[in-house]
Symmetry: C2
Subunit: 571 residues, 2 copies
Amino acid sequence: MNKGFSFKRYFPILVWAPNYTNSKFFDDTIAALIVAIMLIPQALAYALLAGLPAETGLYASMVGLTVYALFGASNTLSVAPVAVISLMTATALAKLSLATPEETLAAALFLTFLSGLFLLLLGLLRLGFMANLLSQPVISAFVTASALIIGLSQMQHIFGVSANGQNFLGLLGSLFGQLGSINFVTFYIGAGSIGFIIFSKLVIKNMFLKIGVDAHIATTLSRSGPLLVALITGLLAYIFRLDQQGVQLLGEVPRGLPDFGLPGFSIDLLNSLIGSALLISIIGFVESISVAQTLAARRRERVDLNQELVGLGASNLATSFGGGFPVSGGFSRSVVNFEAGAATPAAGLFTAILIAVVALFFTPALFWLPRVSLAAIIIVAVYGLIDFSVLKKAWVYSKADFTAVLITLVLTLLIGVEVGIGSGVLASVLIHLYKTSQPHVAVIGRVTGTEHFRSVDRHTVETFENQLSIRIDESLYFANTRYLEELILNLISDKPKLEHVILMCTAVNKIDMSALETLEKINETLRELGVKLHLSEVKDPIIGKLAKTNFFKELTGNNYLSQNQAVEDLR
Amino acid sequence: MNKGFSFKRYFPILVWAPNYTNSKFFDDTIAALIVAIMLIPQALAYALLAGLPAETGLYASMVGLTVYALFGASNTLSVAPVAVISLMTATALAKLSLATPEETLAAALFLTFLSGLFLLLLGLLRLGFMANLLSQPVISAFVTASALIIGLSQMQHIFGVSANGQNFLGLLGSLFGQLGSINFVTFYIGAGSIGFIIFSKLVIKNMFLKIGVDAHIATTLSRSGPLLVALITGLLAYIFRLDQQGVQLLGEVPRGLPDFGLPGFSIDLLNSLIGSALLISIIGFVESISVAQTLAARRRERVDLNQELVGLGASNLATSFGGGFPVSGGFSRSVVNFEAGAATPAAGLFTAILIAVVALFFTPALFWLPRVSLAAIIIVAVYGLIDFSVLKKAWVYSKADFTAVLITLVLTLLIGVEVGIGSGVLASVLIHLYKTSQPHVAVIGRVTGTEHFRSVDRHTVETFENQLSIRIDESLYFANTRYLEELILNLISDKPKLEHVILMCTAVNKIDMSALETLEKINETLRELGVKLHLSEVKDPIIGKLAKTNFFKELTGNNYLSQNQAVEDLR
């Protein structure tokens, strides 16, 4: 990979813009339209989920999409508000217990700024590998638990009551306490909306295709369920004055484009939000890069991990200047963008323009949009994120992974998103260190008449009383080196005739400094007991590193090229 | 190893006591005498270092040694106050900003209780592997930095001034501010004491051996430097009333044995001390187990990691009931015990009895002990812990390890012991994950005319246009699985004629669930591109695990026993 500075790497637009064609323009425009239809109601809904005014969803979408089109690494990723990140934003803001909506918005902008800064720094420092700290089963569990919390948090709007809580049980308790005061008009609108969106997803496309409608148009229509729900319920609310029936409306949404400005800064805010910002950045990045890579691979394209960080970071920074909240590459929306034929990042730019048109001309109509319809849209959207199969799969495949998955799922539901994902990461790392803390090691002997060596436990092999041969099947590093030492000391304790210990290192890819010191210590201990330590079949790069130290000088035995040679030499 | 319950495992005394002999009694008594001579002044000095009354050092020693003799796993470990743990205790207590000595002592007892509880729980739950999270170079750096802080903290007593600070710079600044008010009588006693201890260590033994003194007695005399310094300077202080010259004396030390009682408990104290207790437990355990294992190996004995935790835990719990502070297996003291011929844990018991005799009958004499003499004893003791060679060695061997060592050293010196060791552990883990996040992977081809496969970059090999063979030289897990995916997607992006990807898995020892999901994703992505995914030379245990999932059912290609067979089959 190119490690030098490349201007084009940091500005992917310089690669695709010069080759832009009419046909690409047509594809991008169609994709932009379909995505906008899907995104507009989502953007409003996720803003409310984050605990912010509805218009911030529009601002975050148009700014995020525009800036990602300039810096982003993927041709099809749709960077705007997403459900899980919006929930995490709500959690981060709730911790601050701010008094006014203005303070809350200011904190949201600062959170977005920090999150953007982290992403940008990680990208510029080429630290994309940090995303690897999240194991995939842990992410699946986290997303499922978050979706459950989001779904439940929307039930208050379906019932027309008000509940609150950052975790599943809190929300459930709060909701149950309100069940006496259900507003049934609201409930019917909610149930009807959910039914209509599911129906349009499952049935409409095939219906239109059957009666000969063009595939593009049929797809567009099937994606328009949420928008149609918003239009129809808004119209109903306007005609029948449903607000007088107790149905909550979205209310005033300011007209126009966002004002740009730097987010306010305070040390207190920095201290309270830095952890949340870090989690939001990492989750947002991991989700985005997975989608981006999957989609790119389908077209044999590639996505630069670090440029993706730069793109996401720039989008979030810009969003924080443009009155929004954290944005990320949404899975279903990006898939829609991809399938609708988006050819270049310009598709995102065109989507942004369509949303700007809505913000400029159609906000008065949004006044009549029932809150419950947005809740219905969110519920259907997050339902698709719930996936318990990871639990069963982990149970069958690996109890260690199952433990990490269960910890993440349970703690996210019971305590909240930040503790949940934090514990999941910690559990993954600890479990991994635990698993590798007992490296696979076998006492080996020679299969008679051959030069092959196999475990004495599983094969009939010849061994010699004055030798002990041990094959190490793992790299040696600080977390497993002590085990090796203990094992060797145990093995030699009942072998009085032992003169030679041979470590066969075929599968040892790395020896870190802890392991080097342990080997030196083993060598020293064995020397005092009159036993020599030998190595065999050490890989070249490791020999190179060891040769820089005193190790071979101090080694009481030899470094053999082959295990068989060692055994022959020492018998 | 025996995994069932064994009464004798939890009570090692049941193993050694029935075989106790006169000769062992003689050996143990001699060793106990030599250790007691070394320990008595150290115990007083480390108590003051921890910020506690001098007698707590005697209590901690006698209780710790006695209980370890009953439960400990090592025959020669000497469990009593040690320098680094005493410093960590002082740091933990200083954070609480307590007003009175009584409150400080109560907090120290609770800290000891927590630390003992942790050790006991880790042992009973058989979680000894947790100690592996500390890499050896990081521990070396931490011990060196701690020794520097301890040494500097004692300089105030040498100069007869008072300075304070939890880290190197703080202490240094505080000390410089006081240099105007040096008490020269104190300073001469301090310098003389340091000189005498060093002289006795280096010269006396050989001198006595030369004039024909018995080796045991010569050793005892050479170890008695600190005790002699205490005796001589105490006598000088008494005769010349040095307190009237401004020399600080130890003062009243209560006579008698400790009162036993449960340490006081409060939630506030728990919250403030739990982190420190955890760090103290881990550092104490890691230090103890290293010494215990090294010494045991020299006699071809073994030490059970988890029983060692139980022994240390019980000692600390008992110490917290008996008015002491955290204890651990000291390195130099245990070596002395070993070299003096301690045959069983009874040696520790006898040392405890000797210390009890001092506490019962000789405390009035302690009144006249100059504080500066104890400082001199500490300074000589910790000087032996300072070892900068780890920096040079790490620099030569591995820049990654060097980074972790430097972080630990610098942060311990500049900020303090807790931040220092915490950052060291974190740095080790992150660096390890980073190093394994790019597994060694090679595109391979067949060495013509053989069945051997080698990297295409380093050897002249034959490859086929419709195949891509990749050898993976590392276990696959969450931190490196994404890299593999990216690599494969990159490699296939410019090979339009590709039909088969073969992953050669000779060196893959584990595939965790993240890696499994990545392999499934790669398989799916390749399927969409019309490319089949094959595996070759997968190890049996991994095949067994994969067979429990749908992986082989979904795999578009085959699982080949040998790489050559795969290549032949697919050309």
